[in-house]
Symmetry: C2
Subunit: 86 residues, 2 copies
């Protein structure tokens, strides 16, 4: 692995890890009042496009980071829709 991919993977680890506490907190508390569905959808589509970009430019760190983050974004959208009505 070359030098720049080490920077990329460090970036990927930090930015994906920063989302996990939010996913955990929302799952545990079922409190979705502070989450905005339009924003989550925008974010999800944005991350999907970054994933397409990463695949196109063949960036291992971008592909890894965005694959993990798209799962986090999907879970937050799912929790928002599931718990909103209760």
């Amino acid at each position: 692995m070359n030098y720049i991919e080490i920077i990329g993977f460090s970036a990927a680890t930090l930015t994906t890890a920063a989302f996990l506490p939010q996913v955990y907190k929302t799952w545990k508390t079922k409190d979705v009042s502070g989450l905005s569905l339009p924003m989550l959808v925008m974010f999800f589509v944005g991350i999907f496009l970054w994933l397409v970009y990463g695949i196109y430019i063949k960036s291992p760190s971008m592909i890894s980071a965005n694959t993990i983050t798209i799962v986090s974004a999907f879970l937050l959208m799912y929790f928002k829709m599931k718990y909103e009505k209760r």
Copy 2:
């Protein structure tokens, strides 16, 4: 501008825009109780490393997105430190 940079700039617009309501809300309400400083610092450092990565691989969309997002992340850290003690 080539095809893949259009995808990149669409991704950049969506993921940076998804942060602005959080910055605005925190600025208006001064409510930083839901924000975690260690997470904000991790996120800030992560975005800084993505910016370095974007500059290195000469990606215009990654440079733009991460420059704007690093300002958002910095503002959230600043608000957290400024309003925490009040």
